[in-house]
């Protein structure tokens, strides 16, 4: 909870930075503040605290996800310092990002449907603005508009779902809904199930599961690279965690009502984005589709074992987020060096470090051992096999192979093709960040127990 206060406070601090004139130290202050928040979140461990009449709960699950979100945010601010410096309204942007992080933290710790809605809206409204923050770019404006329309549409579904569930159970509290369902099982009205399905659709929009993913590629592609990085890591973590909290915590006893729908969505989310990603020529768009594809593996774990897949999903998200933020950081550096021509051809000759980082990130996303991404896939597949989802595992294996195809195409372009642009110089801070990210990708893959054990019992 203290972490939430700190993030909120940071947002206000950065809002007044323009007036109080300490813009220069703002970046460092935010990173320091976020690190403190990670520490505060960790210190809440094993003290299940309820706040505001049980509206938010900081149990193991929410603390773990809060810490992950804040931790990834540190790297995000580190890699994107340039995004703030280059253009105007630095303070507004960092405040918006921090508010989005606040929303994300609420989304992983809510215990009440109203809080869920607030969290999602705090996050989304910030993101609508940020997606369009590259004001001169037509694509960025399109992204913001599309994101806003589709996001509001999804919010409508969500709100309707919450209303119907409230109508059936008479409460917004997750724990009370759960107990109501278990007491009145068999006599729940039909509109309750309609509400559950509407919630499923609304959340599917937010995690961009197929067939509710159509906004994602355009929005990811049009937004500034740093914002895309934020959306495909932090927003994704928060949305998946919220999804997990509702459907595992609250609606797992009515799994029969939504499991078939979700199974079909899982299958589609595995197949369609991966095939589409293989057809892309722009790396950014490829990463956008692949990030939708990764949701498929997470859903596979979730559908296979709804109650105890938290550890697996947590590991998968963590490994995915670290690899993803690395890939986007490289993309950001490449774009910065020559915004007119973003090309990965011959990157190794232009900057060996960037090429090696991108290689590691893509190998991890492709699930090649001993990197973290491999272990994430391994956990997902073994969980699914254990619960009799062998056929979906076969689909997952095939889509992973398709993934290898499109990731490795980028890898071979980086090394084999001739460089078309001039060499890229990296500053020391970015180099240190990349070294840390490599250590994380390797360490999480070689010693997965450390991460898995965090939520093993949850």
């Amino acid at each position: 909870m203290n972490a939430l206060y700190v993030v909120c406070g940071l947002a206000f601090v950065s809002l007044v930075a323009e007036i109080a004139n300490y813009k220069k130290v703002l970046g460092a202050a935010i990173i320091l503040g976020l690190l403190i928040a990670v520490g505060l979140a960790a210190s809440d461990w094993d003290t299940p605290l309820h706040y505001f009449n049980d509206m938010v709960v900081f149990d193991h699950f929410s603390i773990a996800f809060t810490a992950l979100i804040l931790f990834i945010s540190v790297f995000w601010f580190w890699m994107s310092g340039d995004y703030f410096r280059r253009q105007s309204h630095q303070t507004d942007r960092s405040a918006l990002i921090l508010f989005a992080i606040t929303g994300a933290v609420i989304m992983v710790s809510f215990n009440n449907m109203a809080m869920l809605f607030l969290g999602i809206e705090i996050l989304s409204i910030s993101m609508y603005v940020l997606a369009g923050s590259n004001k001169e770019s037509l694509l960025s404006n399109e992204a913001a508009f599309k994101y806003f329309i589709m996001g509001s549409f999804a919010t409508g579904f969500l709100l309707m779902g919450i209303a119907l569930v409230y109508g059936a159970t008479g409460t917004f509290h997750l724990s009370q809904i759960t107990s109501y369902i278990s007491i009145h099982s068999g006599e729940l009205p039909a509109f309750f199930y309609a509400g559950v399905l509407l919630l499923l659709v609304g959340m599917a929009f937010k995690i961009s599961a197929v067939p509710f993913h159509f906004w994602a590629p355009d929005v990811y592609d049009g937004s500034p690279v740093t914002i895309t990085a934020f959306m495909s890591t932090i927003v994704k973590i928060a949305a998946v965690a919220a999804f997990f909290r509702i459907f595992s915590g609250c609606f797992s006893s009515v799994k029969a009502a939504w499991s078939i729908v979700l199974t079909v969505m899982t299958l589609l989310t595995l197949v369609i984005p991966n095939i589409t990603a293989a057809c892309q020529s722009s790396v950014k768009r490829m990463l956008a589709y692949s990030s939708v594809g990764h949701i498929g593996y997470i859903l596979l774990a979730f559908i296979a074992n709804t109650e105890s897949s938290a550890g697996t999903i947590y590991y998968y998200l963590a490994s995915y987020a670290v690899a993803s933020i690395t890939a986007f950081a490289v993309l950001h550096e490449v774009e910065k060096s020559n915004p007119a021509n973003v090309s990965f051809s011959g990157l190794f000759k232009r900057s060996p470090m960037l090429a090696v980082m991108m290689t590691l990130a893509l190998l991890s996303l492709a699930g090649i051992p001993p990197l973290a991404g491999f272990f994430g896939k391994y956990l997902v597949f073994s969980l699914a096999l254990q619960n009799g989802y062998g056929s979906l595992v076969i689909v997952g294996i095939i889509t992973s192979l398709i993934g290898v195809y499109y990731y490795f195409r980028v890898v071979s372009d980086m090394y084999l093709k001739e460089a078309t642009n001039s060499p890229i110089e990296l500053n020391a801070s970015i180099q240190i960040m990349f070294c840390l990210l490599v250590i994380l990708i390797l360490a999480a893959g070689i010693f997965p127990d450390v991460v898995i054990s965090i939520l093993a019992s949850a």
Binding site: P369, F381, S382, L385, L401, V411, S412, Y415, L416, A456
Partner: protein
């Protein structure tokens, strides 16, 4: 000791990768010679009458029952010695400097780490991990230092083999989930759990594992990646792939497939043997008409490996013992053959048999070395190739006469295509390309003469190799015979 074998090449390789030494070749050679020395020391300490030795088990991912568990038995030791013995020569065999030598030799050393890891792993997950880690360095070696069309061909190779390994992983996890909770990836536990599966389940697991191994070796009809990849890879890559890496597949058959799914073998073993034998004949015929020297050897390798795999799958002691000798012998021979091709290519810039000829007149030393190696390859008595092929064909004949007879024909076909290659390249009139040709240099002699010596030595006196793998082979077969005895 055994930890040194695994981590020393990793350390040396990583150091080479992140630094840029101009004398990377010498450093890599020194590192691999140190590795060889330690492995020879281990070989002398090895007690050939005992099973697993030098065991090392460290707790790793305890929540999933995964341990860093390694040990050496006779089968592992032979393959480790083959790896540590060949790597220094592979490093020595390069002409001049490749571009970015540090990276090139660093990747070779990391590859060595993964190969040794595969041969000594006693934990299913660890085995898979090393198996996959062997793929990454060789992919980059082929991608970065390969020839024309490498991007497409190496990607095909990577995805093809990865598909196989993922099936293997799924099969291993399937068996792992049958072990008593909390599950364990320990090899003995996997043997027990695999044996307790029903026939239908064992068949599934059999195919999961067999496909991975068959793609790696490769066995017909899963071989389509191989000739292109061998042709496009730099010669050191081809040597790594053919001399050592394909042994991973055969080793996998012996160590992980046979004892784990006894019922699967009885049901599908004959099919697998049939595929292997078809592969022998098919590859031999293609080799006979092949014009590209490097591809010819690639196809001959498919033929030889098919025989080894068929011999192993007969589940007989002579089959497995023959496979062990033949793996060592094939490693030495195929390495030397590819080196001879590379030497000829270095001088003439050509691999087409039609453009070669008359090399014997200008390079007698090369010609005689090639002849010796070639005789080993066609399994002439008193060469290493003879011992292995004799045992393997013997096991096949005992298994089924017709198959044995068909496989026996390959010896004749092998003689046909190898002697044809010799005749086209070495004898006859000199062609414009071969008229200016200098004989073996000192470095090339240092690489090739020991190989010739080994081919003859093993041919005359194969006893030590048979002794080393004797107990380990018995142990594998004992798991099988115990299983069959208990089900009757």
């Amino acid at each position: 000791m055994i930890a040194f074998l695994i981590f020393w090449p990793l350390l040396a390789g990583l150091i080479l990768l992140v630094t840029r030494f101009d004398r990377a070749k010498e450093l890599a050679l020194a590192a691999s010679l140190a590795e060889l020395a330690v492995s020879i020391f281990i070989a002398f300490q090895f007690d050939k009458d005992a099973g697993n030795q030098f065991s090392l088990t460290l707790s790793w991912i305890s929540s999933l029952g995964i341990n860093f568990s390694v040990a050496l038995d006779g089968i592992s030791l032979l393959l480790v010695l083959l790896t540590t013995g060949l790597i220094p020569f592979i490093i020595l065999s390069s002409f001049g400097q490749p571009t970015r030598p540090s990276g090139f030799y660093g990747l070779i050393l990391i590859m060595q780490m993964a190969l040794i890891g595969v041969f000594v792993a006693r934990d299913g997950f660890l085995f898979y991990l090393f198996w996959e880690m062997a793929l990454i360095p060789i992919y980059f070696i082929c991608l970065l230092w390969g020839g024309e069309g490498r991007a497409r061909i190496t990607l095909k190779f990577f995805i093809y083999t990865l598909a196989g390994s993922l099936l293997m992983l799924a099969a291993l996890v399937y068996v792992y989930l049958q072990t008593p909770a909390p599950h364990s990836f320990d090899i003995e536990a996997l043997y027990t759990a695999g044996g307790s599966l029903t026939g239908a389940e064992q068949s599934l697991v059999f195919w999961g594992l067999f496909l991975a191994f068959a793609i790696k070796m490769p066995i017909f009809p899963f071989h389509t990646w191989q000739p292109d990849t061998y042709a496009v890879a730099p010669v050191q890559g081809t040597m790594l792939l053919s001399a050592i890496m394909l042994k991973m597949g055969i080793f996998g058959l012996i160590r992980w497939l046979l004892p784990m799914v006894p019922l699967g073998i009885t049901q599908w073993g004959p099919t697998a043997i049939l595929l292997s034998v078809i592969g022998i004949v098919y590859a031999s015929f293609i080799a006979v008409v092949q014009k590209d020297f490097k591809r010819l050897i690639a196809y001959s390798s498919i033929a030889h490996v098919g025989l080894i795999s068929a011999g192993v799958l007969t589940l007989s002691k002579i089959g497995i013992q023959g496979a062990m000798i033949q793996m060592v012998s094939h490693g030495i021979i195929v390495f030397s053959l590819f080196y001879v091709v590379e030497i000829i290519f270095d001088r003439t810039k050509s691999r087409a048999l039609t453009e070669l000829g008359g090399i014997r007149n200008v390079a007698p030393a090369l010609s005689s070395v090639f002849l010796f190696i070639l005789l080993g390859s066609v399994a002439l008595p008193l060469t290493s190739g003879f011992v292995g092929e004799f045992l393997l064909i013997n096991s096949l004949v005992k298994y089924q006469l017709a198959l044995g007879a068909v496989a026996g024909i390959t010896i004749i076909l092998g003689a046909v295509y190898m002697l044809r290659a010799f005749q086209k390249s070495m004898s006859g009139e000199s062609t414009p390309k071969t008229s200016v040709f200098h004989d073996l240099t000192l470095q090339e002699k240092v690489v090739l003469y020991p190989m010739v010596l080994l081919v003859i030595l093993i041919g005359i006196y194969p006893g030590p190799i048979m002794d080393i793998s004797n107990v380990a082979t018995d142990n594998i077969l004992k798991v099988l015979s115990d299983f069959y005895a208990s089900t009757q």
